[in-house]
C-alpha cells in the first residue's frame, strides 16, 4: 500500500482529534482549593484574656493596616513563638474569635442596683462617679486604724481588688500602689504564676 505524505498527515490529525474527543488528556488533573482565609491578613500578637496561664495568641484582621481600611477580626489562633503555649490553645482560647465578634458582647457600662433583678445601662461618667462614691463610703465605714491589741494597722477590709491576666507589670504596679494607699489587703491580680 502506498502511503503518501498527505495521507499520513491526514490520518495523524484525524487520530489525534479522535483521541481528544474520546477524552484522552495528558494535562495533570488539579482541583481548586478553598482559599487560605488569612493570606495577607494583618497578624497581631496578643494575650488570651481568660486564665492566668496567659497564652499567646495571633489575631488576624482584614487589610494591611492601610489608612482607608477598617480592620476586622477574621481569625484567632495560638502563637507558635510564644514560650508558654507554643501555638496551642484550650477550647476557651480557641474560641476567642467568638469572644470578639459576638452580638452579646458588653459594649457599655451596666449596673444592677441592690434588690434589682435586672441590669440597666448607665453612662460612663455616672458609673465612675458612683464607683468613687461607693469606694469612699465603704472605706469610711470599714476602715480599721487599730486592731484588738491596739496595734496600728490602717487597713480596709470592706473591699477587694481582682485583676486579669492581661494586666501588665506596670498596670499591676499602679494597682498595688493605689489599692494599698486605700488600705486594701485583699488584692488578686493573677500574677502569681
Amino acid at each position: 500500500m502506498e502511503l503518501s505524505r498527505r495521507t499520513f498527515l491526514r490520518g495523524a490529525l484525524a487520530g489525534g482529534a479522535g483521541f481528544s474527543l474520546l477524552g484522552f488528556d495528558l494535562t495533570p488533573a488539579v482541583a481548586q482549593l478553598k482559599e487560605l482565609k488569612i493570606v495577607r491578613a494583618t497578624e497581631t500578637r496578643s494575650t488570651c484574656p481568660y486564665c492566668s496561664v496567659s497564652c499567646g495568641v495571633l489575631i488576624y484582621t482584614i487589610g494591611d493596616k492601610a489608612k482607608n481600611v477598617t480592620p476586622q477580626v477574621i481569625h484567632v489562633e495560638g502563637d507558635p513563638d510564644h514560650p508558654i503555649n507554643r501555638g496551642t490553645l484550650c477550647p476557651k482560647g480557641a474560641s476567642l474569635e467568638q469572644d470578639i465578634l459576638n452580638p452579646r458582647r458588653l459594649l457599655k457600662p451596666q449596673v444592677r442596683r441592690p434588690g434589682s433583678d435586672h441590669w440597666e445601662d448607665i453612662a460612663w461618667t455616672q458609673a465612675l462617679d458612683e464607683i468613687a462614691h461607693w469606694v469612699k463610703k465603704t472605706r469610711d465605714d470599714t476602715f480599721i486604724e487599730k486592731d484588738a491589741q491596739g496595734h496600728t494597722v490602717n487597713r480596709c477590709e470592706g473591699m477587694a481588688w481582682i485583676g486579669g491576666c492581661t494586666d501588665t507589670n506596670e498596670f499591676n504596679y499602679l494597682v498595688v500602689k493605689t489599692m494599698r494607699s486605700l488600705g486594701l489587703t485583699y488584692i488578686e491580680n493573677q500574677a502569681r504564676v
Partner: protein, 306 residues
C-alpha cells in the same frame, strides 16, 4: 476566588486514571492521634469550627461529655467519650477524636458517581469538591467510618478536609495546632508512623499496656489519620472504630467487575448490532400486504401502495 490548586491522584466517577497522577511527588501528610494522652478538652473541636467558619448548633444531652451523638455536616471533628470497664472492674473514659480518616484507598471516592466530586490530592488528602457534588449520598455507603454528612439545605456532602487550605500553604491543620496536651501530631506519614510506634512501645514496656499499638488499618490501604490505642485489639471500644475497615463488597463489585463487565457488554452490544446490520441489512416488515419478491430492500413502501 483563590487560584490555588493541588495535583490530584484519584478522581471520583472519572473514566480511566487521573491524568498526571504520577508526575508529581508530594510528601504524604498524616495526623497522629495519641488517645492515651487526650484529656477530652475539645480544643480541637472548637479550633475546627472556628477555622472552617461554622458555629455551634443545638445539640442533645445524652448523659455524656460528648458534644453531640456523631459528627455533622457542619461539625467535622468530634471527641467520642466512651465509658470502658477495665479488667479489675474499675471504669475509665476512652476518648477518641473522630473525623475523616483520609484513607489511602478511599471508599467514598470509589462509590462516588459524580466526576470530580471527590478527589485525592497528591499529598494524600481526600477532599470533597462541593461544586461537583450531586448529593446522592453514595459516599456514605462506601465509607467504613460513617464520615460524609449531608447538608439538607444545599444538598451537598461535607466532611473534614484535613484543612487542605492550610496544609497546601505549609501550615498544620487547625485541630493539630490547638491541642494543648500534644496528643495530636502532624507530619509526613513515615514520621508519624515512627512516632506512633515509639509511643506504643513506651506504653507496652513502661506503662503496663501490653496490648498497646498503632491503628493504621490495611483494609483501606492505610489511613492519613492514625491512632495510638491502649488496646489495639479492641478498637470498637473507642466509639465504634472498626477493627478491620474495608470498602463494602457491594461497592467493590459495583465499581469494579460489574462496571467493567457493563462497559464491555455495551461496547460489544453496539459492535454486534453494527456487524449484524452490515451482514444482514435492515429488518424488513413482513405483514400481509408485503410483496417481498417484487420489492427490493429500501423500496418496501411500494409494497403497501393501494
Amino acid at each position: 476566588m483563590s487560584q490555588a490548586t493541588l495535583g490530584i491522584r484519584r478522581i471520583s466517577g472519572h473514566a480511566g486514571p487521573a491524568p498526571g497522577e504520577d508526575v508529581e511527588r508530594a510528601e504524604q501528610v498524616c495526623k497522629l492521634i495519641d488517645t492515651t494522652t487526650c484529656i477530652g478538652c475539645k480544643a480541637c473541636e472548637v479550633a475546627c469550627l472556628e477555622w472552617n467558619g461554622y458555629t455551634f448548633t443545638d445539640t442533645v444531652f445524652d448523659n455524656s461529655y460528648q458534644t453531640m451523638p456523631e459528627t455533622a455536616w457542619n461539625y467535622w471533628n468530634l471527641i467520642k467519650f466512651n465509658e470502658h470497664e477495665r479488667e479489675d472492674g474499675s471504669i475509665t473514659l476512652l476518648m477518641r477524636k473522630d473525623q475523616c480518616m483520609h484513607c489511602a484507598d478511599p471508599g467514598c471516592l470509589a462509590a462516588c458517581p459524580a466526576d470530580g466530586a471527590i478527589v485525592q490530592y497528591t499529598n494524600g488528602i481526600v477532599d470533597f469538591q462541593q461544586a461537583n457534588c450531586i448529593g446522592c449520598g453514595y459516599c456514605v455507603t462506601g465509607c467504613p467510618f460513617d464520615i460524609p454528612k449531608f447538608n439538607p439545605a444545599t444538598k451537598k456532602m461535607f466532611k473534614c478536609t484535613l484543612c487542605v487550605d492550610r496544609v497546601s500553604e505549609g501550615l498544620e491543620p487547625a485541630c493539630i495546632k490547638s491541642c494543648p496536651t500534644g496528643c495530636l501530631h502532624f507530619g509526613s506519614k513515615d514520621d508519624m508512623k515512627g512516632l506512633a510506634e515509639t509511643r506504643a512501645t513506651q506504653l507496652r514496656e513502661n506503662f503496663g499496656f501490653a496490648k498497646a499499638g498503632v491503628y493504621d488499618p490495611a483494609g483501606v490501604g492505610g489511613t492519613g489519620v492514625i491512632y495510638v490505642l491502649h488496646d489495639v485489639t479492641n478498637p470498637e471500644a473507642y466509639g465504634g472504630l472498626p477493627k478491620d475497615p474495608r470498602i463494602p463488597l457491594l461497592v467493590r463489585l459495583w465499581k469494579g467487575p460489574v462496571k467493567w463487565l457493563g462497559g464491555w457488554s455495551m461496547f460489544f452490544g453496539v459492535l454486534g448490532v453494527a456487524i449484524h446490520y452490515l451482514r444482514y441489512g435492515p429488518k424488513i416488515p413482513q405483514d400481509g400486504h408485503d410483496n417481498r419478491d417484487d420489492s427490493a430492500p429500501g423500496h418496501r413502501d411500494e409494497g403497501v401502495k393501494p
